[in-house]
Amino acid sequence: MKYLRDIGSYFLMIKKVFGSFTKGSVLRELIFKEIDDLIIGSLGIVAFISFFVGGVIALQTAINLDNPLIPKSIIGFATRQSIILEFAPTFISIIMAGKVGSFITSSIGSMRVTEQIDALEVMGINSLNYLVFPKIVAMMFYPLVIALAMFLGISGGFIAGVYGGFTSATDFAIGLQDSFEPFHLVYAFLKTFVFAFIIATVPSWQGYYMKGGALEVGKASTNSFVWTSVLIILSNYVVTQLLLS
């Protein structure tokens, strides 16, 4: 029963987010601030993780290639497929659920605890639009982060594979181009938009409707990560079923 109520409350929140808009000039500033906090602020960790995980994928593939009949280009192929199909969109989104999601929940939750949200409401401002809408818009730039993660992941794979002595640059490049389906990129970016919406709204819901004090803000941040991750995994399955099967 509680879950049903929570689901209803989430969708009602989404409806309110898109009702009675904040003044345009203020909203524009808020969106730029959110892009800075949520997108630009995440580039470092995403770049670091993508580069090294790409390298690890190439190494794992190379180390497990025992059969001399399998061409070395498979290292580039496996790196590309793993990164474009799952690692960049899904794995990075789980990481973002932790980094960005916790930030969103704790910042909105702290505003709830310190009555800042009440202050907005008393002033006649639609606090959900003021707080959540700029986050949704900012997260629509999230596919750029994933594009960067794809590029750096493949670069990491290339450097680990080639400079680690497991394959040649030519073989790796052949593998990268082998059986390339452009639709896989479309699929990856489509699901990235779905994940972006989840990352912006689920933690906002957790923070906005939390009750209590500082301890509860911490609990809400943990719940936010758990539920955002669960929804990313579930929606990943649904989108994959719809687009690839």
Binding site: S25, S110, T114, E115, A119, V122, M123, G124, I125
Partner: protein, 273 residues
């Protein structure tokens, strides 16, 4: 009300009509099975500091949130001038709230903004003033609360008393018709609390606004209580001024007022004299 011609006019004993800005009529509010407000009827007058006092759990804060429209009462009506808040659509409620200034218990300043930006916030949201006009207005009100030198600081960099004064500045910057204060003195030392009390009263008279203060601080009652509403268990059990509260025989009020040794001694001196 002695006699009503409409919801906002009171016929006084000397036959002059007083404009009542907020009228509360038989308001009931419950949470689940528990009835918090059990039919409150009262009025809040323009140009006066109207206090809502009572013990913790008496329903003061719930009444305040009903007045602000943050809670919807199950029964009863709340009139702002001659319009019931329950009859207002979303746009009308939003317009009403633009006329409300609120001082929260903890200040509720936006911690990501400087003091200057906090005070400017309502002007940015609701007016089309140029930046220089907004700045001028901001520093006028900051000067009014003696904080003109702190505009560039962040809320975390100033004391609790200063935060309360910034919150008052933010509440009055857009020239509100109504000022609501929730426990304005909580967490403040007696001297700072008196400064805040006096500031609230001065602003009320200076701008001729309707001020409603929720408190259980007896010093505030003595300092600024021009109209006092005493709540107990969700009922309005007494109403009067700060002079009358020390003379009343109402047992609920005397139990509350003389609960501290200091006020017991004051009572003793009063009775002896």
């Amino acid at each position: 009300m002695d006699e009503c011609t409409d919801h906002t006019l009171k016929l006084c004993s000397n036959s002059t009509l007083i404009k009542l800005m907020i009228v509360v009529k038989d308001v009931k509010k419950r949470f689940g099975e528990e009835e918090i407000l059990k039919g409150i009827s009262t009025t809040f007058e323009k140009g006066k500091t109207n206090l809502i006092i009572g013990q913790s759990g008496s329903g003061k804060s719930v009444l305040l949130k009903c007045l602000l429209g943050l809670f919807t009462p199950e029964e009863g009506r709340i009139y702002y001038e001659d319009k019931a808040i329950q009859d207002m659509n979303d746009d009308q409620q939003r317009e009403l709230r633009e006329e409300i200034g609120m001082l929260f218990q903890g200040g509720a300043l936006f911690d990501s903004m400087t003091i200057e930006e906090n005070v400017m916030f309502p002007l940015r949201m609701f007016t089309n003033q140029s930046k220089s006009e907004r700045m001028e207005r901001v520093y006028n009100v900051l000067e009014r609360v003696n904080l003109e030198d702190s505009g560039k600081k962040y809320p975390a960099e100033i004391s609790g008393g200063m935060q309360k004064r910034v919150s008052i500045a933010r509440a009055i910057v857009n020239k509100p018709k109504y000022l609501f204060c929730d426990e304005p003195n909580s967490g403040l030392d007696p001297k700072t609390a008196t400064v805040i009390d006096n500031l609230i009263q001065e602003i009320t008279h200076e701008f001729n606004i309707t001020t409603v203060v929720v408190t259980h601080d007896m010093n505030s009652v003595m300092e600024i209580g021009e109209q006092i509403n005493f709540l107990k268990n969700g009922l309005l059990v007494w109403k009067g001024t700060n002079d009358e509260i020390f003379r009343t025989d109402n047992k609920d009020v005397t139990d509350f007022v003389y609960s501290s040794d200091l006020f017991k001694k004051i009572r003793k001196v009063q009775l002896e004299s």
